[in-house]
Amino acid sequence: MPLSGYLIGVAALLLLTLAALLPRPIRAGTVVIYGGSLGVTAVLFASALWQLLSGADWMALSLPLGIPWLGANFRLDALSAFILAVVDFGAVAASFYALGYGRHEHEPERVLPFYPAFLAAMNLVVLADDAFVFLLSWEMMSLSSWALVMSHHQVPGNARAGFVYIVMASIGTFALLLAFGLMAGDVGDYAFSTMRAHASERTVTGVVLALALFGAGSKAGLAPFHVWLPLAHPAAPSHVSALMSGVMTKVAVYGFLRIVFDILGAPAWWWGLPVLAVGAITAVIGALLGLTQNDLKRVLAYSTIENIGVIFIALGLSLAFRAHGYGAAAALALTAALFHVLNHSLFKSLLFFGSGALLTATGERSLARLGGLLNRMPMTGLFMLVGCVAISALPPFNGFVSEWLAFQAILLSPVLSSWALKLMIPAVGAMLALAAALAAAAYVRVFGIAFLGRPRSDAARNAVEVDRFSLIAMGTLGVLCLLTGVLPGLVIDALGPLVSQLIGTAMANQSQLGWLAIAPIAESRSSYDGLLVFLFITTSALMAAAIIHRFASDVSRIAPPWDCGFPDPDSATQYTPESFAQPVRRVFSGLGFAASETVDMPRPGDQRPARFELRLKDLVWDYGYQPVVSTVFTIADILNRLQFLTIRQYLSLVFAALVFLLLALAIWT
């Protein structure tokens, strides 16, 4: 499909936005908008994927829109084709899911107009080839997603979430604006191609890196700019949460890749350091805070932060290798990052769809009121289990492969000559492993509390399976999580063109290895075969089960739980989400959060119940944001006095300002 075809697709999505504004019966609107978005994004996905796999030529297009001397430039290269495929596949899955899920919306007119606009904006960001189009569509992406976050504005807390989101998004866009301004420099041309051509003349690359890390990183959820994400992502309807967590954060990663890997030019030796540090801290903080949350969608949002941290660790490694001239290692690290981008978009969408299914079935988001749902919603439960295993980086699913590739890249890093990197990378490796282990604990908690055990509320006890659209969307994503896990070589080969576009070299072709194995550097060094591992596990499990059932006993008796002889029928005697997290809370308290527990035990003979109180403090918020917020308020209080002056005082103020400016001008020149 020519590039204009993609733009027509975007225009079609915008037309759907207009159509959603027309007054019409609610039921039909849902089908038209989500069906239309599904059709358009399916076409966009198919052609982007074909573009990536067939290795077709890059395309560029310039339209006479926007700023007169610049126009509106668009380009489709291997990188944008990959991200476009990720975005549009997420959009296809979410739209299909929403055909069922969207019917439960109480005020669809608050969701429907912004949904296609959000999709169009994400597509445009990826297609943009000049700073003007990029920033405009970036801002459109922020605003449309903000409107979606605010669609349930009556729910307590959502208004605040929207406010924090819009403030952070505005500051982030402002940072990107400055970054593009600095990259355009004296030339003053905002087309990406011109910026790329003048890469070698640039002097303030460090500042641009910092701005890109802040601007794109805050959108992706990098610590310490992550605070808006666990507020905003859960507030939106679940299919939009899936898009924001699974897809929009990938568009943010794309922004970082485009600026730092593509336009900014050859990296300096130290570029990897800040990216690695921020990525590692993000991964651990996201994983830890996720373990302490009770709201299912908020657990998922924190886990997005963790996964973004993993992606940036791999990106930092790639920058470090590239700066030191190790092309193959840089390609390996970048492949790990991009593979994780794909994986995370798959399993995070799946998990948010699952949380939406739970919301439909029970009306509950709090883990403390769920339980026993695997028996009541077997299909949703199975797909959620797949998602939980995949995101916990366990073989043979896909999350493990990208993390394995990242570990392999870390193992290559002793060749780096810089001492700072030598000291830092082992610690980053330990933090990556810690984050993976914490994620596994977090998802045992999520699945164990929500789907296993006995129901903790009537809503959970009476839950029934959700509609077929939701199940098909989740099932497809689950199958893809397994397929990309057992056939990682195909994914790595598909990522080849864009890795070589950004780095100059790609990983060796994996398809020539036997048995669909992957070997990042050489087979004697390390190799992994997801397919064989999967086959081994399934055959030995089936074999063991078959032998025992055939030759020993296959009799089962259903009985009440034993519980060491003291079973209690009350479901409140089960472990709660808080109690499951207690050991981890106690061990890791002080790392990003502070937990204090007080037990108020009545004296013997006293009839009142004992009380247990748990207080959690988010240290990033308390020590990072509160001071800034209170400073802003203090300054605002001082400036507030200016509103109550007499007319003479105002006139003298204007006069003083004029004199000051003239003086400044005189001294400056």
Binding site: G371, L374, N375, P378, S392, L394, P395, W404, Q408, I410, L411, P414, L423, I425, P426, A430, A433, L434, A437, L438, A440, A441, V444, F447, G448, I449, L452, G453, A517, S524, R525, S526, S527, Y528, L532, V533, F536, I537, T538, A541, L542, A544, I548, S553, V555, S556, I558, A559, P561, D563, C564, P567, T573, Q574, S579, F580, Q582, P583, V584, V587
Partner: protein
């Protein structure tokens, strides 16, 4: 011929880790009992237990889901696959390349993930307690293990266990500080992962300190047999891993004849016996820790692993 030979070795290996695993557990119990001047159960008692359990009916709690019934087989399969890829008597395993050391650790992680879920499936307080503590231990033990793997892989230039073992057999190894640190760390992780004293007590029931036993409390019959067998398999896997990396003597190289392989099997049995005596003596001479002391204990392994890796990053010879 080579393919056929390697396939034979692979199949032998699969049996050789599975069959003596209960014997190792029985041997440790026997030695521990003798150290306490008791007579102890017969050596073959674990086999009898498993056979008896397999023949009995399985009692399943009414609140359990299908996952509860599937987990024992999944855990067994994941542990067995992992164990089959750790060289015990010969390095020429046919499928050695299908999963490296990191993947083996992750396979054990999968087994733990499902076992912890099974602990929560019935919805009793004991199950949740076991799962929650097991996952807390894992959050430290897994990074520790990965750091130890890093230091080993950086020394041997490979994460493939066969290649690591071959390198450790070659004279290029020498004495290294990071290897010593790695060995201590690995032993700590092995003790924690296998729920041995001082982290957990494999012989207790009805005690608030138990972790692994609390998780599997609701299991019975053939399900319990699979869980027990997996635990025994995991213990022998860790012994094989330590033996293969740090004491690889006797491992038959690729393409060796029948005699070296027989010698390798004999050496492996010898190593299992030595490890069993050492573990029994260690467990008899130490008291169990409070549960919130355990993170400090595993934290030591994490720090040792990190230190070993850091040393390797700093210098090629340490």
């Amino acid at each position: 011929m080579n393919l056929f030979g390697n396939l034979t070795i692979q199949i032998l290996q699969m049996l050789l880790v599975l069959l003596p695993a209960p014997l190792l557990t029985g041997f440790i119990r026997k030695v521990k009992a003798r150290l306490l001047r008791k007579k102890g159960p017969p050596l073959l008692q674990p086999y009898r237990d498993i056979i008896k359990l397999v023949g009995k009916e399985a009692v399943v709690a009414d609140s359990a889901s299908w996952l509860f019934r599937a987990v024992p087989y999944l855990v067994f399969a994941a542990t067995w696959v992992a164990a089959a890829l750790v060289p015990t008597f010969a390095t020429g395993l046919l499928f050695s390349w299908s999963a490296d050391l990191i993947a083996i650790i992750a396979l054990l992680g999968s087994a733990r993930f499902f076992l912890a879920l099974a602990g929560m499936d019935v919805g009793t307080s004991f199950g949740g307690l076991g799962s929650s503590r097991e996952m807390m231990f894992a959050t430290l033990a897994e990074p520790a293990m990965i750091m130890i793997v890093f230091s080993l892989a950086l020394i041997a230039g490979s994460t493939q266990l066969s290649n690591v073992a071959e390198f450790m057999l070659s004279p290029a190894v020498g004495l290294r500080v990071s290897l010593a640190l790695g060995l201590i760390g690995l032993v700590i992780v092995a003790i924690a992962e296998n729920a041995r004293i001082p982290v957990d007590n494999p012989a207790t029931h009805l005690e608030l300190t138990m972790v692994h036993e609390a998780m599997v409390l609701e299991y019975s019959g053939r399900h319990l047999a699979m869980i027990e067998l997996s635990a025994e398999l995991k213990l022998s896997l860790y012994v094989s891993l330590i033996a293969c990396v740090f004491f690889p003597w006797g491992l038959a190289p690729v393409g060796a004849g029948i005699a070296p392989h027989l010698f390798g099997i004999a050496a492996y049995i010898g190593k299992l016996a030595v490890a069993g005596v050492a573990l029994a003596v260690f467990e008899t001479s130490i008291a169990k820790m409070r549960v919130f002391r355990v993170p400090d204990f595993i934290g030591v392994a994490l720090m040792l692993g990190l230190l070993a890796t850091l040393l390797r990053f700093m210098s090629g010879s340490l």
